[in-house]
Symmetry: D2
Subunit: 337 residues, 4 copies
Amino acid sequence: MIIVMSPASSQEDLSGVEEKIKANGLTFHLSKGEDRTIVGVIGDKKKIANLEMNMMPGVEKTVRITEKYKLVSREFHPADTVVDVDGVKIGGEHLTVMAGPCAVESEDQLKEAARCVREGGAQFLRGGAFKPRTSPYDFQGLAEKGLKMLREAADENGLKVVTEIVDKDDMELIGTYADVYQVGARNMQNFQLLKALGKAKKPVMLKRGLSSTISEWLNAAEYIAAGGNENIILCERGIRTYETFTRNTLDLSAVAAVKELSHLPIIVDPSHGTGRWQMVRPMARAAIAAGADGLIIEVHPHPEVALSDGNQSLTPKNFNRLMEEVKQIGALMGKAL
Amino acid sequence: MIIVMSPASSQEDLSGVEEKIKANGLTFHLSKGEDRTIVGVIGDKKKIANLEMNMMPGVEKTVRITEKYKLVSREFHPADTVVDVDGVKIGGEHLTVMAGPCAVESEDQLKEAARCVREGGAQFLRGGAFKPRTSPYDFQGLAEKGLKMLREAADENGLKVVTEIVDKDDMELIGTYADVYQVGARNMQNFQLLKALGKAKKPVMLKRGLSSTISEWLNAAEYIAAGGNENIILCERGIRTYETFTRNTLDLSAVAAVKELSHLPIIVDPSHGTGRWQMVRPMARAAIAAGADGLIIEVHPHPEVALSDGNQSLTPKNFNRLMEEVKQIGALMGKAL
Amino acid sequence: MIIVMSPASSQEDLSGVEEKIKANGLTFHLSKGEDRTIVGVIGDKKKIANLEMNMMPGVEKTVRITEKYKLVSREFHPADTVVDVDGVKIGGEHLTVMAGPCAVESEDQLKEAARCVREGGAQFLRGGAFKPRTSPYDFQGLAEKGLKMLREAADENGLKVVTEIVDKDDMELIGTYADVYQVGARNMQNFQLLKALGKAKKPVMLKRGLSSTISEWLNAAEYIAAGGNENIILCERGIRTYETFTRNTLDLSAVAAVKELSHLPIIVDPSHGTGRWQMVRPMARAAIAAGADGLIIEVHPHPEVALSDGNQSLTPKNFNRLMEEVKQIGALMGKAL
Amino acid sequence: MIIVMSPASSQEDLSGVEEKIKANGLTFHLSKGEDRTIVGVIGDKKKIANLEMNMMPGVEKTVRITEKYKLVSREFHPADTVVDVDGVKIGGEHLTVMAGPCAVESEDQLKEAARCVREGGAQFLRGGAFKPRTSPYDFQGLAEKGLKMLREAADENGLKVVTEIVDKDDMELIGTYADVYQVGARNMQNFQLLKALGKAKKPVMLKRGLSSTISEWLNAAEYIAAGGNENIILCERGIRTYETFTRNTLDLSAVAAVKELSHLPIIVDPSHGTGRWQMVRPMARAAIAAGADGLIIEVHPHPEVALSDGNQSLTPKNFNRLMEEVKQIGALMGKAL
């Protein structure tokens, strides 16, 4: 931590700052400039993390130098993590695609979707059985009935299952049917849920919050890792900006940032990220070119009758085109399905 | 809902749209303009809410006309709601101030804070016993021990208690000690928590999410109301923008917007909203002048040693000045403590 | 400037950094922590301002400690500046209100508006003769004809004139008719215009850009001051956020921030800041309570027929109510019209 | 335009709305729903564009259906525009790369940069001779001296020149040396400059404003087109969001959006868009995969001594790698250098 003393601060103020640092078991270096004195705090990272100096008399501002997350950081673990989901790998040289409808609606819909997902070459069936919806009057999902359908449709097609968890009480239930727990954007900082998933035996896919910084996102992942579960996949799904043409602004630079800061694999959701099916293919290509380890795509056999998010779902035909294009770009990036 | 047909759409596309509307038990009016045909959908609000038309061939875009929330809307309930917390009222002609430290740290700190809160004239003691923190390594709160301290310090000073709930499993425990449940910004769309609080017997203060629209916020309140608990207080606490000088951007126009759209009382948190103690007094005055029903303020007997958010806490002396100023502006607005 | 060396940096990297600092005529202090070495650069502010260290091998990041603006800073000039517009004062103990239609449309409209502005007690007539409009097909203003009308209507009612300049070539022309030049949000970083206004003899009101930080805004004001014109009034008019209910998000915390960082007077535009006439009065009251030195308000004798921005214009009756309320809050703040 | 009447509106309010529509030479269709009456306005697009209905008694809100821009819209001109810069083409099947230092600093620097640009296979030399800088004390560019150096270095290497214009008075001077005028983000809504460039004989590259919507951007392009100059290239360069790890948030979905809404070519600036050289290559690849027609890249022979933006400049070696990768992805997209 660096403490910038105000130009109007006194020697007494500085002594107060120095004493508080020492009282916390830390040391410091002074650097006296023309206008301002700078105090660099030195010592144990955790002690520094808990040091609050802003209110000390004479302090103008403080600057934190290091991030608080550790287990998920590239600095701590330089090699790429590859998450193994019963043989299907995510990260490293692997290109992984998860696809399916936004919400599980019926057996027929899901089986048709699952066939299309397999035929396109994807490895995971996605679909929501528990849906977090803005309004209490919107369709909230089929719950266990939906989970069963997911498992069945996936098994028939040799696919893995990823589905959203919105309540820690459902952890066991969902774990019975799914291979990967998905934490949605709205729950990225639902720390109770993250702590529970830190004890889970199955991997977690953590979506970025609607307006989370990359640092907050990695700190949220650290909650899971700190609990003991290091099988974490990050998922960029668009952030909230002022632009209204798209539903969200898909932030592909987050892919490059995560690759720099963390060893965790990262996949991209261009369906929620744009909210417009017309943009899903170009953004899927761009995501892989940016270095993403995979994609999660909304596919619906009949998007025009979807109960939620029809506007961002691909038809099976468009999904096949996407898979073709993505394979080619993946090959250039050294990644294969 | 209004459906805008693309200029390139065919008569067949239009027929498809008309049939889907009818199949959903709804009717429509056509309006053929120079470039585009507009279809106005008419009928039951809930059926319209679930209608998805964006993927129909020939559809350029759709515009929703009405909000989904109802119980919390001014249209449904024109008079101001006044929430009664065992005799302390929030809303209408009442000016309510909640104050105290960000986190409960120790008995001494809390008792000193509570005295100062009472002496300033506020009615509620605030303080976090369960803290949602960005990093798993930050101080997470004293849990039940903290709740007990809160209750005791409040009782000694004739104050009510408001404290944050982060897990629905804590509802009973917190209800034993607190008078009002606070839902924090990160949990505004934790729908499981909102549903649980819809069954609670005590009022809920719902903070606005970090990047929530006013519409999403009122829909979140609707989750609580739809569960049967209509004792809801809204709390504006700043939204996330690009500005870095302040911690958040306190959106006081949300006060005027909520007063127009909803009958619920709204209070303002200038401490989290700005993140800088220097700005708390001006923003508190501005909040009341904008029409807010009250304030929630961080006060710490010794902010320079606070375990969290010291930088935004007022000293007792500054808090007293704030209370004086706020009373004067409240009087002009027809509101009294 | 503080330079944070990467944990992986070598002694050679550090030497490179040290040499570059010395080569720029500056010195430094080292602070070696557990993970990282921190280099504090010391010396002439301008030299530091031009130092670029991010690309040096081994550098993780750099942190700038001081702002680049000087003349407009509170640090340089601690007392409040009061701008004198031929006897009408802005800043200090003065409360100043500028009001009038968004665009000058006709002589009748303007004279009616000017009467209403005077009757309400405001000191300035506002109105656009040159309008920056999003589309080339929108009404672009009456130019000199509009300026003449403004002057005439103002003179008849003993008012000063403030009007927007969008082109430095119009400086003389506008200066003939107006008392204060207004720089609009879109031109806040039109540095050619700012440089020209630095040579002007009349005061400049500088609106905050749509997504400008407070620091960028004060740097823009510094362009004018550096040219020799220190009669600058800042104007907060709302920033762009994700919220769609209001046209912009009026950032009243900017008022408190500017009062802390600068000696310049600041006024607030709740009409553009909210885009909804229903919100203008509450936000005007809040602005004054936050410490603003005045307001700029859209008033239109017949807002329902306005050629631009009718939705945010007050009727004369509402304007009178606003002026009454604002006077009362101003009195509490030690400011009078 | 669609007008939504308030549920509380009277028959008289509706008549007032109908009369105003007719008085403006337009007609309408009514659609009476359960809660609200909707009025669809029909007739001449320009008349509708100027209709202001929000202030009419009984009106709840209005929704504009069509965009105001026309010449630059895909609807008006379905085929892709290919801009021809004396034989070097931008758009369609062409992949165009502009590269060079942020600011022109010296002859040596520029000649070295130009060689490297040519060797990498790019077609344009970029470099700023007039620099819009946040602070008046930052380096403002070499002006004509810089333009001469640019032309010379470009000619020696068979490159075209693109450079920024910040003042309409410089149009002739810059036109003497450069092949394409660049309008920077800060000037995207400097309408005087856009109008002047509408009369220019040379193409214009229009960067997206820091917080401009896609609609505002295309309306800004319409200013140039409406003046008679249809040789316009759009350039996405990152938008302002809350994220601080990157300098801006590069919005690649804007590429897909522009391809849908407009026939103009679009290129991407990953250097300013991210502000971090480490991210330039991944984002350049992603841009081409998203469908962009080209790139503008900061290359500096010695980024560690650059006078501005060193942190986002590539070394020649990294630039060569970028060009290799981009060619491969371009080939998949049917585009060649």
